[in-house]
Symmetry: D2
Subunit: 301 residues, 4 copies
């Protein structure tokens, strides 16, 4: 009946790292938010305050900045893989590492109709994400890559219904066969392989998600997510599964009837809270074991 | 090699529900943020857009407001239990429910030295949290309650060291035997039983956390968390385990030497990002199986 | 030596109004955040709680939604003008109105290379703003329109210097002839006339701002702002003055020398706080009196 | 018809400065967010990029940290005065300075019923603010101090009405004689003198604001603000005027009638947006000229 230390990890969160490539007059920008977490034999630090096995989080940050120069950032997936492998392979007490990276988009400034060489405008559309996990060494080595995006805000002004739903004594919602459907999508997809053209796959997945959202006559956000996920898996054999968390950002039709005005799906109030929240996992029935791929917190929830 | 629907859930997030008790001239306030999620047989909604088994998220919100009146809110744990049981027991397709609640603190306004009957000032200290999961029916019924808090910002101006740590080629951090230690604590604790004086336990856990943070000579935030967790479990047999996520909110000593000034731990720059992030789970070695207690997203991560 | 009521106003802030045009299969979207403020004879409400001259803020919100339908939203400037004139002309106690509107951008979803008719992706680039003030009636009528934008995040990876600055005993900053320059621009411009092609002018001003930021070899953010403003005024005789508030979003070169790595403007840490803040007003020397054009708070600061 | 530089200023915003007093075992904490702005002869920097009269914003930050040690922080008002006077008196091109400071509250951790010597819990109640302006030198010297607070969230569950208001064709709001009244108060007060016990006055003003909000039977938030302001001025002859910006944080009674439940002011939905916004200035009729006291942006709005 003793009290014991369970799972634990530590790291440096949210290092805001900006990398330019300046090989020619036409510079390139990569704007990242890097978080590293290490797992391993850190019980002595917890139980006795003994830091001898603890690589400082400051060092983890330094490593990220150094690797941005020495290894470079081909994609956030490859950069995360390099960092994770380094921590597990080169730092003795570390048995597992998880690297989470966000990437912010920039578009080139346009001057006289031409894209500028070294000036950009922050593109607010969505944030690209990656979570890389490296567990164990040698034959026990497991490597997981989860790509993703968040804050992709999509809206359609028609082509969405919600009706014939279950009714109980607390139900007051009227059915509708024409509503606004909007979400701020979080999608994450787990790769089956590391032999991936990361940037090309990312662009393709995003394109598929947007197209499915746009073209499906939606009977529910649930159905939309299913079709988005199915289309991604159908097009990308290198992806094992895709997971969605999609708020239903409610748009309420403004009641203009007291003012003698008709409102045929034209004027809405966009509500902040509460919101519906639909979560779903679309997978292959022969997908590999995800292992710790989805585990942001070493079982810490 | 088919594409299939995996785990999924849906609900209404962040219903901002404020409940007053007005039985006497001395009113009471409970200020909540309620999120409900339902799990069950919703595949038809995803695959075919068939809503006949889908209780609208709007209904879930209505239920929360109705229960705030009809059942009342003895504590956020009991309120969450009532909602979760209702959804699983009374709504046919629902096999599991997860209710997450945040509670914001208010202190009575003071007028002429006396606490006012019906006026409050929002207390910013911390947010109390609860996550209630009810899975299954009859003999397969599992009920989990996780209490917690977040945004508890703690700081000590001395009594914290960080030295004798592991050094590699990317390490530049100097050791220190006297630093500022600050965190914005997230703590969550899983109950072994439902026979709990919820409010009293909450107050006690918070008191213990603060006292341990204050009195331990800290050799690392890891060590501080261990002692906080151990003290909570030692005092509360009804708690099976406690999990922490603790950012190390760095305070950097301002370098005043260029100005001929000494700075003996007096003037600091409080940094925003990056921050250290220490996560740990302190548990009993005979703790019950957590089941889905920690699973916010039905395996959706 | 009496205590008296000074300037005062009241209104409804942040009505989130979304307007679609559905005249054809190709819908249009306008996504606004509308705030209205009324000024006038409201002393009785303050001094005695007499509401007989107070049009509820709820009514102001209703009016915005009704006007979105009945008047429509040609541009946020024309919509604000219609609302402001209505409140001053039609509501007896109102002598002045200020309407502040933010507009969020959306771009059409692309499906198979073509823009979709009724689906959009939220474009995060910048928020368009307008502030319309109508003061008085008849010959004393003054109407002011201030257009603008905020959250336009610009960055250049070279072409920026900061050197030869004033040095005192607290100065430790090294000079640099090649730095990253980044800002999150707030710009607002006051119109001399109401005979304006609002959308075209907005697009042109934004284009000029971006181009100037990109092409000027910057010796200081101050100088960049001056040239941005001068170029806008030179191109747009209908604009009397333009005001900037521009944080200098610092990017610090990562010191990689301890790791034996050179860092020639490639790897940076993007800092959150503190930040420089440069504010400047560029104007015509014969600009009209701004009156209350810039006064968001009726002298309330 | 030339284009000219109008008003302008520059500075360092949001330096997060934490100061401890460690004279005895019982430490003291002051947690500040400091923003400095300088006004003066900076036209050369704008027009020609000549920095010779520009003290770097980095230096302004350094000065704040150095002064926190060398001058100390008796109160945020005195600290701001010292900084502002330094910039105007000691930096040749500077003719005016504005220092804006926010102070975050901390309460001592309680251990075994006693307040701890060097550990604190962040108190979320409200943020104390100060804005100090020093303009000119010698006989033309004007010094202004504005104290204040923000984020003071107040709520009363009864004792608030809103009825007998002006009605037009867009009015649908029902009158009420018992509603929830809540606000997140911003209050700022201008001092007539510098001979002030800053901390004592702050505590007193806050106490008065809370007590007035609590005890007045409110017929409108406008009336509440008036009485809050009048009471502050009546008690504090050193204050010339007080300005309020008060959102009406709407709490909507949940309609439980479809569920056969009565709701007598017990269960509410707390809405985010839109919100009413009431702004008012309460002043003495013989108050001194405010000059630039309220001018955060040198006429930059």
């Amino acid at each position: 009946m003793a009290i014991v230390l369970g799972s634990h990890q530590y790291g440096k969160a949210e290092s805001r790292l900006v990398r330019f490539r300046r090989d020619s007059a036409r510079h390139e920008i990569q704007d990242l938010n890097v978080s590293t977490s290490l797992r391993g034999s850190f019980a002595e630090a917890h139980l006795y305050g003994d830091q001898s096995q603890v690589l400082p989080t400051d060092t983890q940050k330094n490593t990220a900045y150094a690797y941005a120069k020495s290894v470079g950032i081909e994609s956030i997936e490859t950069f995360g893989l390099a960092l994770a492998r380094h921590f597990v392979d080169d730092i003795d007490p570390v048995t597992g590492a998880r690297i989470e990276i966000e990437q912010y988009g920039w578009t080139r400034a346009v001057v006289d109709g031409a894209e500028h060489d070294h000036t950009w405008v922050r593109a607010g559309e969505e944030v690209r994400t990656a979570a890389i996990t490296v567990d164990g060494t040698g034959d026990d080595r497991h490597v997981h890559v989860v790509g993703g995006l968040k804050d992709l805000v999509l809206l359609k002004s028609t082509g969405s219904e919600f009706r014939d739903f279950l009714v109980d004594e607390y139900t007051t919602l009227p059915a509708t066969s024409d509503r606004v459907l909007a979400t701020s999508l979080v999608a994450r997809w787990r790769f089956e392989t590391l032999d991936v053209e990361w940037d090309a796959v990312y662009a393709s997945v995003k394109r598929i998600l947007v197209a499915q959202f746009a073209t499906l006559q939606s009977l529910a956000l649930q159905q939309t997510l299913w079709h988005m996920g199915k289309a991604v898996l159908a097009a990308h054999p290198e992806i094992a599964e895709i997971r969605f968390s999609a708020p239903n950002k409610h748009h309420f039709l403004a009641d203009l009837s007291p003012f003698g005005l008709e409102n045929s799906g034209e004027v809405f109030h966009a509500a902040d809270r509460p919101y519906g929240l639909i979560q779903a996992n679309i997978t292959r029935d022969d997908a590999s074991d995800p292992g710790s791929a989805w585990d942001a917190g070493a079982g810490l929830a």
